[in-house]
Subunit: 439 residues, 2 copies
């Protein structure tokens, strides 16, 4: 029987915002394999990492033993601007589906960057500021990460140089303008401002660019800045999963308040930042043998890293100047077919989730684009939130699982991550509305 | 001394969502002048109004005696999807300005329609559904109202025909696609689907349209539907202010919790729906002699209805088929110069606010576009929310008043309405970013 006392939205109070991030690696028996130095091919040192990343972030990247890392006060203070994020009981979706399942989603889109990316952006900007840097460089695809980083840098008065995949730069001028409004400079990638960009332009004239290529340009710019800039990254890295654990920590606190235990936890997976953050504290319980949960990573059929990739060391970037990571990968030179969930087009998967998948602690599945947009529209019409196409991958599988419950009569509790809103993806929705979207 | 115990965001609980709207007309000694029938020029009857509007809405439109009107359960239930809306203490803005003032804003943008318009859209859709109608017709300018109505109609399974001012239809394809995603049909106005549209097209070939013209087309379509459709409107009408009172009621409840009494209440004013809703319960106290507040309506210098219009009977639409309202007006044929706060381009002002202004109970001021965008960017960078250009009119005056407090040392409490987000206005921000925006 449904417990109707649970409100539509469970908001925590401000003093319930977590004071520490949770580092799931501390509880993993099989730790993620170490990053390798691209030159020596040996496990990379903190000093080598600190040439590319901020010192404290390099430290966090290599820390697989401390379970909790305190959130510095200025970051916590910024979190209060847009957190706690609501945990929503999807009553209307349940009713529409006629399912006995209880569906919950953690909604991370109620901030101007429109997604969960801000959780790590503000942390990375803070450490750059603490280190006395002039600014940071980064890449962005769909634009969510670049927007989030622009907001974070603006808050701390840091310069922000964004290399935006050219095809997105041209197709998403609105995203570009949000970044510029927050004071960032936005360069379409590949560009002639870097050696790697010039090389790619020479080899592939007229290319629309890729995330891997934009990463290479951003890293090169930071490394050649005379130490004034560092490179920051919005996904894949373990430090990012650490910061994103705030999603799962808040979700768990909210569910615990009402004594609700999810059977199934679902998230979309591109580089893995959202999914990793959402599942971390739940996975911690599973790893410690305190509870059991089923975890499902959802990826696009056009970029099936976990479901069809290999688990091996690979470069994180096309230019092969970043460290190598052991991860599920489609190959650093993989170019996904044009599709619209831009944030899920990355060739690799964060080493933490890769290891958990390899150890059978997490499942993965892939879904087609048209089925994803169908789910997005169903969800938008009853829950009132227009989801990002990325997030809609998780919605698709949540709906499928809820419909399965309808067949079996099971009252499963489903939790999924609604990472963001689709306001900047309306041209993809337009194709769906016109019936011309393909898989 | 600042009371630091007040959180960044004051969220009410779901059971604190108001159960009744507040009808400020009940407490007005000088009632707004009655609407006049466009044919007879006599006060319009409920029956005549009910030919255009839903029956219950016609009743609400003429009700100037009942102070509270109960919110039907299905509307209240929908409100739970996105309400209560947060009341935010603008700590970061205060710090940025170095002002002793305490600034609060009621943020209505955390829903997919991106604005407060949904508060009335869901009510109007509900009454249309209750009456057994097939659907509703409406007009939209900037697109906020059309988006809100599409969401509301989708929820109740009603057809929704939106006439969108042609210039917006072409310049804001993203808005159009949100409406289509929610199942609405969107027709650029003027169109050849109505007599009034064909007449305007013949007289002004190539015109980009206007709100007044789109209203005429929507009304004609409803009136000629054989009773299956009614027309609905997102502003100006007293019924809309009634529904929007939920903004003020929630804001007041949140402030009362912390014993905070605003000195100054500020809102942007186009047709007056947001401002009217925000100030209603506070104005009620003022009218009943229980408290005093200063109210400021902010309008664009390019469409200065309250500050430079005349207080007289005028048509609400260009086609002159709607009832006449006594209001501050620039004339039904007024065509504002192209500017970007599309939602503030209406030639008139809701009769309730017009009367309150005429009685000296409320002030009005106008601001220029470049100063508005400057305020918008300042606000976005410290408060993390990218405001709609409409909302930024209120931000401009709130900042100016806070800076005045800095000079005088006064610790005034300022409350303003942040009606929505600017995600669909990025091309205006682009002009600002490029320094080519003019007044």
């Amino acid at each position: 029987m449904k417990n109707e006392k649970i409100p539509y939205k469970i908001y925590l109070s401000e003093d319930e915002i977590p004071r520490a991030w949770y580092n799931v690696r501390a509880d993993m028996k099989n730790k993620p394999a170490p990053l390798l130095d691209p030159v020596t091919r040996r496990p990379i040192t903190e000093d080598a990492l600190a040439e590319v990343f901020c010192r404290e972030l390099a430290r966090q990247e290599l820390d697989d033993t401390n379970a909790y890392i305190e959130i510095p006060e200025p970051i916590h203070s910024f979190y209060k601007m847009y957190r706690p994020a609501p945990l929503v009981r999807a009553y209307c979706l349940e009713e529409k589906l006629g399912t006995p399942a209880h569906i919950y989603y953690k909604f991370e889109g109620n901030n101007t960057s429109g997604s969960h990316k801000l959780n790590s952006a503000i942390a990375q900007a803070y450490y750059a500021k603490e280190q006395g840097l002039a600014g940071v460089t980064t890449e962005t695809g769909a634009g969510q990460w670049g927007t989030a980083l622009s907001m974070a840098c603006s808050y701390f008065g840091l310069d922000c140089k964004v290399f935006m995949v050219k095809v997105s730069h041209d197709q998403k001028p609105h995203r570009r303008e949000v970044m510029r409004t927050y004071g960032a400079s936005v360069t379409p990638s590949p560009s002639d401002t870097t050696a790697v960009g010039r090389k790619i332009l020479a080899e592939h004239p007229g290319t629309g660019g890729s995330l891997g290529c934009a990463i290479s340009e951003a890293v090169e710019t930071a490394v050649n800045s005379g130490g004034r800039y560092r490179y920051v990254l919005g996904s894949v890295l373990s430090q990012v999963l650490l910061h994103q654990s705030i999603i799962g920590l808040e979700a768990k606190t909210a569910l615990d308040k009402y004594g609700v235990k999810p059977d199934l936890i679902i998230g979309c997976a591109g580089g893995g930042s959202n999914l990793g953050g959402l599942i971390s504290p739940f996975m911690g319980e599973k790893l410690r043998g305190e509870a059991d949960y089923r975890f499902i990573a959802v990826e696009p059929a056009s970029c099936p890293t976990l479901t069809r990739g290999v688990y091996a060391y690979d470069y994180c970037d096309t230019g092969m100047i970043c460290p190598l990571a052991k991860m599920y990968t489609l190959g650093a030179s993989f170019m996904p077919a044009p599709m619209h969930a831009g944030g899920l087009r990355y060739h690799g998967m964060t080493p933490v989730l890769s290891q958990l998948c390899a150890d059978g602690l997490m499942e993965a599945t892939s879904v087609t684009q048209t089925s994803v947009f169908d789910a997005a529209v169903t969800f938008a019409r009853v829950e009132g939130i227009l989801p990002a196409p990325e997030s809609a991958h998780a919605i698709r599988v949540a709906i499928d699982e809820a419909l399965r419950c309808k067949e079996t009569g099971e009252e499963k509790v489903i939790l999924f991550g609604l990472t963001g809103t689709g306001y900047f993806d309306m041209m993809s929705y337009a194709k769906h509305n016109d019936g011309i979207l393909t898989d």
